[in-house]
């Protein structure tokens, strides 16, 4: 407690330390870590750029109208070679998956956001749905195999087959061409009176994809609905609307673009999945033949042809990748445009 001004004076030693440059070790550490972080980031970017470049470089040369509209040609046979059947098959199965998962997912999302909110039941359902998103797709394929493929019921010439015996009954009515594939969705033949449900089929594949899409649709719907301001719900209720009217006329219609984005993202995810299809929808070299027969898909085609020893099939796998990635990017861009329009 001498002179009050001496308190403000900084000791010589501290001034000396402040004037000294940063010790060499600390400088080195700072610059070294910066370089390392950028190097690792570059390492993360490299594969992505390489993958996109490879797909374009190896896939674009063969891409033509013929390759997306014709059937795969047997190895060694000259003629139109393509994967039109796989494109149709992917669309059919994603369509089935959407038809099952979108209504269920939407209603679950509405429950979580509008009805359950923070109740114990809603928290439980939210938790289970979140866990459901993390289940490996191959496990969902196994589930679909057990539920749909193995429990096949087939009626062939008046005889009824159930289970594995039914899987062995190769039934179906092949109709040639693009139109036949679409027209013959329901496999029913008057001549032999054969009809089948289950087995390796588009239905099994679509079911597996729907389980995959369900939690994504539900959780994104909930997120989208939560963004609608609570005051709008109050206003609707104040005008005498019931909860049903408020939910549909106010909340869902306001959040429609967000809900659509979520659905499109789920569709994009389902379109690229392979593991649940390999042993539920199987594959076929022909046009999709009804919902109850093995159905080709783009992703399984890429898997099969990547492992093929024939270079022309490997090339076709790259071309199919171009189509599949474009399809997914198209859906993603569409979802972004829906969001922007708001």
């Amino acid at each position: 407690m001498t002179n009050p001004s001496s308190k403000l004076e900084t000791p010589e030693s501290i001034i000396a330390e402040l004037k000294k440059p940063l010790p060499i070790a600390r400088t080195f550490f700072t610059y070294g870590m910066t370089v390392l972080a950028f190097a690792l980031t570059g390492l993360a970017l490299l594969p992505l750029v390489e993958i996109l470049w490879s797909i374009l470089r190896q896939g674009m040369p063969q891409l033509s109208l013929q390759s997306i509209t014709s059937l795969p040609a047997p190895v060694g046979v000259e003629g139109p070679n393509g994967f039109g059947n796989a494109i149709v098959g992917t669309l059919i199965m994603v369509g089935i998956a959407s038809a099952i998962s979108i209504p269920f997912g939407l209603l679950t999302g509405i429950y979580l956001s509008e009805f359950g909110k923070n109740s114990k039941t809603a928290s439980g359902i939210r938790f289970i749905t979140t866990v459901l998103t993390g289940i490996p797709s191959v496990i969902i394929g196994v589930f679909a195999y057990a539920v749909v493929v193995v429990t096949k019921i087939a009626i062939n010439n008046g005889q009824i087959f159930i289970g594995r015996e039914a899987v062995d009954q190769g039934i179906g009515v092949p109709l040639p061409g693009f139109l036949g594939a679409i027209a013959n969705l329901f496999n029913y033949d008057i001549n032999t009176l054969s009809i089948g449900v289950g087995g390796f089929s588009a239905l099994a594949g679509g079911f597996a994809l729907s389980i995959l899409m369900l939690p994504v649709v539900a959780l994104t719907t909930e997120e989208a609905l939560k963004l609608v301001p609570i005051s709008q719900r109050f206003a609707s209720a104040a005008l005498g609307a019931t909860r049903f009217q408020t939910t549909f006329k106010i909340v869902v219609s306001t959040a429609l673009s967000g809900v659509t984005t979520g659905i499109l993202l789920a569709v994009a995810r389902a379109a690229g999945e392979t593991a649940p299809l390999v042993f539920t929808a199987l594959f076929s070299d022909n046009w999709p033949d009804g919902l109850f027969n093995p159905t080709p898909s783009l992703s399984v085609l890429i898997y099969n042809y990547a492992n093929s020893p024939f270079p022309e099939q490997n090339n076709l796998a790259w071309t199919a990748s171009v189509v599949l990635v474009s399809l997914i990017l198209l859906i993603s861009v569409a979802s972004r445009m829906v969001t922007r329009r708001r």
Partner: protein, 350 residues
């Protein structure tokens, strides 16, 4: 005196009267003090069809939500039921049986469990530092914002590419690129058990690298979000005490975001354990246990993908179901841990 002419008004008046009667009854029964009556007024109550629709819709939504949740239990039940014959046949010994012979119907899960765990461990070892680096570069102000956002976007874009295409790329681009590197490891370090077999391209190391590429976006995206919400005060305080940028990152930012980064890594581990197609295409699918990372191996998802469609013998199908049950239980536990970690973090910040 009001003259009521339109039927709509009459309806309104009627429902209003009804509400008043209800209110009076409530007041009489003494459950509610008259002061609370206004808060109790249910203005959403409509009449007839609307009320009925509303009730029906409430129950429908509730039922569907329960159904969605039940899917998980249905799935668990079906897989357990399908695996049951194999569980009875092989018992717990299945877990450490190391032979997989379809011809002699001898099945053991150890090679697949080993392959799954080791390939995921390699992936995590590579992906955690890389993912955290990406998160740091895109959340710190090293570079201007117009460069940062595209980097973050491009890294997350890889998550949108189907795994089968990454597998295709792995076969035709990555394996030819890695083979000389693996050969070098074998030539120089073959005395280390990890590199003791001649490389053939596919194998544990290759699949670990492919998995790392696939899980980096998960780790990067979540860690970035975590680092962005670390309070500015903490950073400023550290800087004011004279720390350099990296001292701040290591002593302040990373410790305060640790649980989030751990959650991200756990989530990524769940993805890696269950990833099927890309791994199946680059691991070689050979059910063996070899300490060498350059050797072929097999994982639970890869054996399911390659053998399920062709499995005919009920015991073979049962063994595959048993394997999927093991994978299901492992990934379920990892995912629940991840969800809880992220949730704990959310509560801390909220």
């Amino acid at each position: 005196m009001l003259i009521i002419s339109s039927p709509r008004c009459e309806e309104l008046l009627a429902s209003r009267t009804l509400q008043l009667i209800v209110m009076q009854n409530r007041a009489k029964s003494g459950k509610n003090s008259p002061k609370n009556l206004d808060a109790e007024l249910d203005i959403t109550a409509g009449g007839g069809l609307n009320l009925w629709l509303n009730e029906g819709f409430t129950w429908l939504v509730y039922g569907v939500a329960i159904c969605t949740a039940l899917t998980l239990f249905w799935l668990s039940w079906v897989i357990l039921q399908q695996a049951f014959p194999a569980i009875q046949q092989f018992g717990l010994g299945f877990l450490w049986g190391s032979e997989w012979n379809i011809g002699e119907l001898k099945f053991g899960a150890l090679p697949f469990i080993y392959g799954t765990l080791v390939s995921s461990a390699i992936a995590l070892l590579i992906a955690v530092p890389v993912g955290v680096s990406v998160a740091l570069v895109t959340s710190e102000d090293f570079i201007p914002n117009w460069v940062r956002s595209p980097i973050a976007f491009v890294v997350e874009l890889i998550a949108a590419i189907p795994s089968v295409i990454i597998g295709l790329w792995g076969i035709f681009v990555l394996i030819p690129f890695l083979l000389p590197l693996q050969q070098f490891l074998f030539d120089r370090f073959s005395f280390i058990p990890l590199f003791s077999t001649a490389p053939s391209g596919p194998g544990l190391l290759t699949s670990g690298i492919v998995l790392a590429i696939m899980i980096v976006p998960t780790i990067a995206a979540i860690s970035r979000d975590v680092l962005l919400v670390v309070p500015k005060d903490l950073r400023s305080a550290s800087m004011a005490l004279g720390s350099t940028r990296w001292e701040t990152i290591f002593r302040v930012l990373l410790p305060s975001g640790a649980s989030g980064i751990l959650g991200a890594s756990t989530l990524a581990l769940g993805r890696a354990l269950g990833e099927t197609m890309a791994v199946t295409m680059v691991i070689g699918n050979s059910p063996q246990i070899n300490p060498s990372l350059l050797d072929l191996a097999s994982t639970i998802p890869s054996v399911l993908a390659t053998q399920f469609a062709e499995a005919l013998d009920p015991l073979h199908i049962g063994a595959l179901m048993y394997l999927s049950l093991i994978l299901f239980v492992i990934t379920l536990l990892v995912n629940i841990a991840a969800v809880l970690l992220v949730r704990v973090l959310g509560h801390k910040q909220g």
